[in-house]
């Protein structure tokens, strides 16, 4: 357990990476005038004033070091690391051959209309794998990357939850 009373640099990785400083459990504003911001907290909202605009946001989810923020109806997901651990991770990723977990998850709750692949097939990125019906629409679940289907965990007609693993790929 690291105590965070002291100064610390953080990296928040979302669509982009943001380097932010904190002291005594408070995010520190930048020293430069044009990059300065203020942060206020109400019961369930944050108000950040930045570049002459007010942004009102709320925390949709915070689990360990993953945080989802909602602003203006948009969601932003971040992984929060200290600068040291971020660099360590980067280094590890560089040295290791990338082996990303490429299981196919259900993006939304629904019902499987059809499985379009079979175990053992080689799949190219973008190939349709499963048809999932949600709110009366047929949604194609596409392969996020090349790989081989190692196991199919669902069958036609199954009801699935959001983020349920549908297909295991290697």
């Amino acid at each position: 357990m690291t105590l965070l009373k002291k100064n610390k640099n953080f990296v928040l990785s979302g669509d982009q990476c943001y380097h932010l400083k904190a002291q005594n459990y408070q995010v520190l504003s930048s020293r430069s005038k044009k990059d300065r911001f203020t942060i206020q907290e109400t019961e369930n909202e944050f108000i950040v004033s930045y570049k002459e605009k007010n942004f009102i946001g709320e925390i949709a989810d915070l689990k360990q070091n993953k945080c989802t923020v909602l602003i203006n109806g948009n969601t932003y997901r971040f992984t929060i690391d200290t600068e040291a651990s971020f660099e360590r991770k980067e280094k590890l990723q560089k040295n290791k051959p990338i082996k990303i977990n490429c299981n196919v998850l259900a993006p939304m709750p629904g019902k499987i209309t059809e499985v379009l692949t079979s175990e053992g097939s080689f799949i190219e990125k973008g190939n349709p794998l499963v048809l999932l019906e949600a709110m009366k629409m047929q949604n194609q679940i596409l392969a996020a990357q090349d790989g081989t289907v190692s196991k199919i965990l669902i069958k036609d007609g199954d009801s699935v939850m959001s983020n349920q693993v549908l297909i295991e790929m290697v």
Binding site: Y18, Y25, I39, C67, N74, T113
Partner: protein, 495 residues
């Protein structure tokens, strides 16, 4: 006039119908299902009929069950709304058999216009230009392939029984054909319980313009101008306006007349919509006819001041149409925004859930047709439309400004909605100048949602602060606890 009506629908349209029916002094019956037992629409009913949902399909798709309920409770009429059985000739014919008034046209008109092949033939005979396409129902892949070979790519595949934009896909290349065929067939089966298809030549970048018609049983028919519905994704309309900036008065009159030719040709009565595609050379083609009330009917109501549901019920009940073509005037410009429970950042994926908070501004130029309110659950088993915002202005520019103000002051929490999308569209030059067409979302929007500059960075600041708050809570608890000897030693080492 009828004294009781069964609304065979749910959500905002059930409420919309209930409002007018109540104003007309008609007793309103709604159906409560266990998929949506606390739905808002039930609060608008005079009588609620509770049914166990059959796991094999929705009650709203079960004509026999609807007839049984209507007879059991001595209800005089059934209003099907849109979607579900609204374009089912079977329900219309069963109603007729049992002496129940179906709020819609005749079984024959529904059947003819519901079959897109037949509809095209009749439209052509009425003098309306049509696109080349298959002339019989396609029920297997080999027929589909044969037609496509004859018509040539790109083509559009549609569920013959389709409507509401479901069961429709464009095919541009031979290697996509089989998969697209499957997708459309499955959607057709699940949404309309009929998997036969139709294939037509696809025109690139058309505008979608539709004419609202209203007719009685005695041959009187009028049109209530057009609606433009070119803001679509996956062939589903998201935003509509009336009138359309693309039409000259001459074109408006011509399309209106064509729509009425078609109505007269099939002895159409009650409310209907004749849909057209307008190509880049301002030539129009028959698309289809919808024989029901449409989701976007309020924009027409907003510009003409006419209650279309009232007219629909009256003409269905056999009253003579009192309105004449000259009575119909354009008094305003109106825009409808469909608030869907969808994640625009994830390609409009459905986002069902509980609405924590839902608030709209109160102003004279806003009409809210909602099926939900704060605290209500949006079920996964129905479509994603939750609310329609209908905004008017004296002219198009004012309507757009009003729409922006409404969106700015609308709060919906708990589920993601199409609001960030509307912010983006309302500020886009192609929408503002009116040159947009149905490929607007895929071709013109670099991202389908509005984002303030630096929005992600401020989100990062909030995320870190929330994280630090959480850490502080945990760590202050830790230090308060009796430290073990080992922890004490470690703490000394660390600091």
């Amino acid at each position: 006039m009828i004294k009781s009506i069964l609304i065979a629908n749910r959500g905002e349209i059930a409420i919309r119908i209930a409002r007018t029916a109540t104003n007309m002094g008609i007793m309103v019956y709604c159906i409560q299902t266990n998929r949506e037992a606390n739905a808002l629409y039930l609060e608008y009913a005079d009588e609620i009929i509770t049914l166990e949902e059959n796991p094999n399909g929705s009650i709203f798709l079960n004509a026999e069950e609807l007839i049984r309920i209507a007879k059991l409770h001595h209800i005089e009429a059934i209003h099907p709304g849109y979607g579900f059985l609204s374009e089912s000739p079977y329900l219309a014919s069963r109603c007729k058999d049992e002496g129940i008034l179906f709020i819609g046209p005749s079984e024959k008109a529904i059947y003819t216009m519901g079959n897109k092949g037949m509809a095209r033939n009749i439209a052509q005979k009425s003098g309306i230009p049509v696109l080349t396409g298959s002339t019989s129902n396609i029920t297997n892949f080999y027929d589909a392939k044969a037609w496509v070979d004859q018509i040539g790519y790109p083509v559009i595949m549609k569920a013959v029984a389709g409507g509401g934009g479901k069961g429709m896909r464009i095919v541009r290349k031979a290697d996509e054909l089989e998969l697209m065929y499957k997708l459309v067939r499955n959607e057709a089966k699940s949404a309309f319980n009929d998997d036969s298809l139709l294939i037509e030549k696809y025109i690139e970048n058309p505008k979608h313009i539709e004419i609202q018609v209203l007719a009685d049983r005695y041959g009187n028919a009028i049109h209530l101008f057009e609606r433009e519905c070119s803001i679509q994704r996956k062939h589903q309309k998201l935003m509509e306006e009336a009138p359309s900036i693309a039409l000259t008065d001459e074109m408006r009159t011509k399309m209106g007349e064509m729509a009425l030719f078609l109505c007269r040709k099939i002895n159409y009565h009650t409310l209907g919509t004749v849909e057209f595609l307008l190509d880049e050379d301002n030539k129009f083609y028959f698309l289809e006819m919808n024989t029901r009330v449409q989701v976007e009917h309020p924009v027409t109501e907003a510009i003409t001041g006419i209650d279309l549901i009232e007219q629909q019920i009256k003409t269905a009940a056999g009253e003579k149409l009192e309105l004449q073509q000259n009575d119909i005037q354009k008094k305003a410009w109106a825009i409808e925004l469909r608030i869907n429970a969808e994640d625009v950042q994830a390609d409009f994926a459905p986002n069902p859930g509980i609405i924590d908070k839902m608030e709209f501004p109160e102003c004279s130029f806003l009409r809210v047709d909602t099926g939900f309110e704060s605290g209500k659950l949006i079920p996964q088993s129905f479509d994603s439309l939750i609310t329609k915002l209908i905004i008017t202005g004296e002219n198009r520019q004012e309507a757009i400004e009003h729409a922006k103000a409404v969106i700015e002051n609308t709060v919906i929490k708990g589920v993601k909605t199409t609001i960030p999308f509307f912010k983006q569209v309302l500020n886009h030059p192609d929408f503002i100048n009116g040159t947009y067409n149905t490929s607007f979302i895929s071709k013109k929007l670099n991202k389908p949602f509005f984002q303030e500059k630096e929005e992600e960075k401020t989100a990062a600041i909030m995320a870190l602060q929330a994280y630090l708050n959480e850490k502080q809570k945990i760590e202050s608890n830790l230090t308060q606890e009796e430290d073990s000897a080992w922890a004490k030693k470690m703490r000394i080492k660390l600091f």
